[in-house]
């Protein structure tokens, strides 16, 4: 393959990072204070929670399904764990146990979704919609007053700072992305996972346990949502019953921009990270430019639309490029 073609392919396959870079450069020039160290750290910090949801959603999308319930899991999992550790059984549930419980609740909710979808063949949209409403309702019942101050130990992940004034959440999230990226791209599990999303029937015929892959996708998404909930609770120093509300729609935007496709089998965790960053930078720059929150929300809707257009054109560019390449190869060969 020619070098120019390889380069173009590389750019198309990592389109999101091209966009992130472009967006950064344009804003660095036009938006005041955008490129300062403080603001960059700020963007990363504010993207941390959303990026975990984007990653979870992205993985489920790679599996060819979708998950609406992660935004409720984000509030529910830390909510129950904090309630146990601070009100119901403080002597039994220490900080370590509380964090473990949070993640286990996330995993259990994910497993419930995955089991119903893979084994009982329930439609993913409706299944996760039911879970989303169910656990949000329970959360509202348990926390009618919404506020609930947390011990300092639980604020570390969300509000702690490292040397250089770097929030703890930032390296934490980066490490998670890195681990899942390696897991998906460099292990046999990752291959089976991606191919299940691309064509479940063919993957099953090829000897892959596709049900297990689906359950895995939802469990990972649930755990990531619970983790995002821990960080969110730590950041605001409390658990509220509205945590995560409305975030799931933007998680689609981030995942789709990051290279996932609604047809499954597409995307990488690092791409999702790019998608989440673009979302974060987008609202940050509009903020700095003095745009009101309602309009920022509307602009994010436009961003989702853009992501869908991008998804369509990306695969077309790719096949056109490869087609041309193939034609040239054949012409030389004959």
């Amino acid at each position: 393959m020619k070098r120019s073609t390889s380069l173009q392919l590389l750019l198309i396959d990592n389109l999101i990072w091209v966009l992130v870079a472009l967006f950064f450069v344009v804003n660095a020039v036009f938006t005041p204070r955008f490129a300062s160290y403080r603001n960059v750290v700020n963007i990363l910090y504010h993207s941390a929670i959303m990026s975990l949801l984007v990653l979870g959603q992205g993985l489920v999308l790679i599996n060819g399904k979708l998950d609406l319930s992660i935004e409720s899991t984000l509030g529910f999992a830390p909510g129950i764990a904090m309630l146990l550790s601070m009100r119901i059984a403080p002597e039994l549930v220490g900080p370590g146990t509380a964090i473990l419980i949070t993640l286990l609740i996330g995993a259990a909710l994910g497993w419930f979704n995955g089991f119903c979808i893979a084994r009982l063949k329930i439609n993913p949209l409706l299944q996760t919609l039911a879970t989303m409403i169910m656990i949000r309702g329970i959360l509202l019942y348990i926390f009618p007053f919404s506020l609930f101050p947390l011990d300092p130990v639980y604020r570390f992940a969300g509000a702690g700072r490292l040397p250089g004034n770097i929030p703890v959440a930032v390296p934490l999230v980066l490490v998670i992305f890195l681990i899942l990226n390696i897991g998906l791209q460099h292990t046999p599990f990752g291959r089976r996972f991606v191919s299940t999303g691309g064509n479940p029937r063919a993957s099953y015929v090829a000897g892959i346990n596709v049900d297990r892959m689906t359950v895995a996708a939802y469990v990972i998404a649930g755990v990531l949502a619970a983790m995002a909930g821990m960080i969110a609770a730590g950041r605001q120093g409390s658990v509220s019953n509205a945590m995560g509300e409305g975030m799931v729609l933007l998680s689609f935007a981030g995942a789709l921009m990051g290279g996932a496709s609604l047809h499954g089998g597409k995307g990488t965790p690092l791409g999702m990270l790019g998608g989440a960053l673009l979302l974060g930078m987008f609202s940050n720059s509009l903020n700095l430019l003095g745009v009101g929150p309602s309009l920022i929300y509307a602009s994010k809707g436009a961003l989702i639309f853009l992501a869908l257009l991008l998804d369509r054109s990306r695969s077309r560019w790719r096949s056109e490029l490869l087609h041309r390449e193939q034609m040239e190869t054949l012409a030389i060969g004959s």
Partner: protein, 537 residues
């Protein structure tokens, strides 16, 4: 013949890579039942598809009721009162029988906007009653078996659309014997009512029984149109097969390179049996199938559509469940239901190449590389991680051995041509290094050059260290490649032929179920099953 209702003049249909119909002329007389017969790929479905307005001919003209057409839309074809009953019933499963019968022309109330449901169900029930079926018009079509759905299609064509020309495109392939009788009765009744019926079938007996005249297609050419009285079973079979009726085809593909490790033909019997199935049954699909295949041997399974070829393979691999029987893989016997998924089959060294390449064989948006190693990830894993260099070597090696053409192994597989895509699937099953290959129509839908290459690969590469069981769209490929051929007819194994000198006509007769009537062809071993009736009850 002065009352010609349908005539085709010089009709050809060219698909990319194949000529489906070549300059075909045909005349169908009003009121006759006209059979169309030929091997798979002879062009039967294309021919009637043109008349039904489903296929656009490349050249030629045809006339219905004296009106001449170059091509026809389905709507225009309906206006000429042409109906088609295809092999797979095309009905809305979530709607009632009555709704399906009248779709898209529901009876409406005065004013023309609201559907007159009362009249719809009333008239639907009247239509059903004409068939002596104890069915209610408000039953959901999805609750009926395929056979009954097929009868609903026939009723619709006969009594709702009141068609002059009814095309039956292998409409019998999935009917039970009782359903067949009902179907035949409707056909007879329509014939008396003056309808013209175009009847496509593989089964010679059936055609001789119901048709006035028959047109034989072979490789897209119209070979002959004969009257029922002019032919018998044998002569019709000879017309279908062609080439003096008893072409003996020597096995062995033309390539001069001899396979290094392939055993000499006589020595095959010394190699270990890799797979044997005994008393293998699945209700409604196949019954008491028994065969075995040795390492280095290619076993061909011949049979008409609906004979159970694919079903047997899918049950061995765990895609479908068998009801009874045992599978012996190497030295370990197991009850047939013990392989529950393709994964478990793979672990025992049995791998399946699906007939539906795109739906069941490939992950379209994934790279050639990922598709190739999908079933053999263990081979390229070191510790927890994939060994990328080993992967590239494996894929590159397979690419060379199977002569697959692509620009880059990171290319998405959907960008390859049909033949190369098929080879990617073959390389995937090959990469698992199994003991048994089940190849379901491995040469389906690929051009001649790719087919020759693939046949060579199956013989020289796949069959070298493993047992191969395969089916093919035509007998020719099976005869060239197989050491033995077993024949399935209506879910039963009816005959076995030992290569290399096959007589195509004999195999063809067996596929028609001829051996069941005691006319055992020479050289064939007839399997005796306790009950000789058809499997459907």
């Amino acid at each position: 013949m002065n009352d010609v209702i349908l005539s085709l003049t010089g009709v050809s249909k060219i698909y990319p890579g194949t000529v489906a119909l070549h300059n075909v002329d045909l005349e169908v007389v009003r009121g006759e039942t006209h059979g169309i017969i030929g091997k798979n790929g002879a062009g039967k479905s294309t021919l009637v598809g043109i008349v039904a307005g489903l296929v656009k001919p490349t050249t030629g003209t045809f006339a219905i009721n004296g009106r001449s057409y170059h091509d026809l839309s389905r709507i225009a074809s309906r206006q000429e009162r042409v109906s088609i009953v295809p092999q797979e019933p095309q009905l809305v499963e979530n709607a009632t029988i009555a709704e399906n019968l009248f779709l898209p022309d529901y009876p409406v109330k005065r004013g023309g906007l609201a559907v007159d449901w009362k009249r719809l169900f009333q008239r639907g029930q009247e239509v059903l009653d004409r068939s002596d079926l104890a069915l209610k018009a408000h039953t959901l079509v999805g609750d009926l078996g395929v056979g009954l759905q097929q009868i609903i299609m026939m009723l619709k064509a006969s009594y709702v659309e009141d068609s002059q020309i009814i095309i039956l495109d292998e409409a019998f392939a999935s009917l039970s014997e009782r359903e067949e009788q009902i179907f035949f009765r409707i056909m007879r009744e329509r014939r008396q009512a003056g309808c013209t019926i175009l009847h496509i079938s593989h089964r010679i007996d059936e055609l001789l029984q119901v048709c006035d005249r028959m047109t034989v297609l072979r490789d897209g050419h119209s070979v002959a149109t004969v009257h029922r009285d002019e032919v018998d079973h044998r002569s019709l079979a000879a017309l279908i097969v062609g080439g003096a009726g008893a072409a003996t085809v020597a096995p062995g593909v033309s390539s001069a390179t001899s396979p290094p490790a392939a055993p000499p033909a006589a020595g095959v019997s010394l190699w270990p049996v890799e797979l044997s199935v005994e008393g293998f049954s699945r209700a409604g699909a196949f019954r008491v199938i028994t065969f075995s295949v040795r390492k280095g041997e290619i076993l061909g399974i011949a049979g008409l559509i609906g004979s159970g070829r694919t079903e047997v393979m899918k049950a061995i691999i765990g895609l479908d469940r068998a009801d009874a029987g045992t599978i012996r893989r190497g030295d370990s016997a197991a009850p047939a239901e013990s392989i529950r998924s393709p994964k478990e089959a793979l672990q025992r060294g049995i791998v399946y190449l699906p007939e539906e390449r795109d739906a069941e064989g490939l992950v379209d948006g994934m790279s050639v590389k990922s598709n190739t190693v999908m079933s053999a990830l263990k081979r390229i894993t070191r510790g927890l991680f994939l060994n990328r260099p080993a992967e590239r070597t494996l894929v590159g090696d397979l690419r060379e051995r199977l002569e697959i053409k692509y620009a880059s192994m990171d290319q998405e597989v959907r960008e390859l041509s049909g033949g190369n895509r098929q080879k990617v699937v073959v390389s995937r099953v090959f990469s698992t290094e199994p003991a048994v290959y089940l190849l379901d129509e491995p040469t389906k839908g690929i051009d001649i050059a790719a087919r020759e290459g693939l046949l060579r690969i199956i013989r020289d590469e796949l069959a070298r260290d493993a047992a191969v069981v395969m089916t093919a769209p035509g007998l020719e490929e099976l005869m060239r490649l197989s050491d033995r051929i077993v024949v399935l007819h209506r879910g039963e194994l009816v005959a076995e032929f030992q290569g290399p000198d096959y007589r195509e006509e004999e195999i063809f007769q067996a596929m028609q179920g001829a051996s069941r009537q005691g006319a055992a062809p020479q050289g064939a071993t007839i399997h005796k099953t306790t009950e000789k009736e058809s499997i459907q009850t």
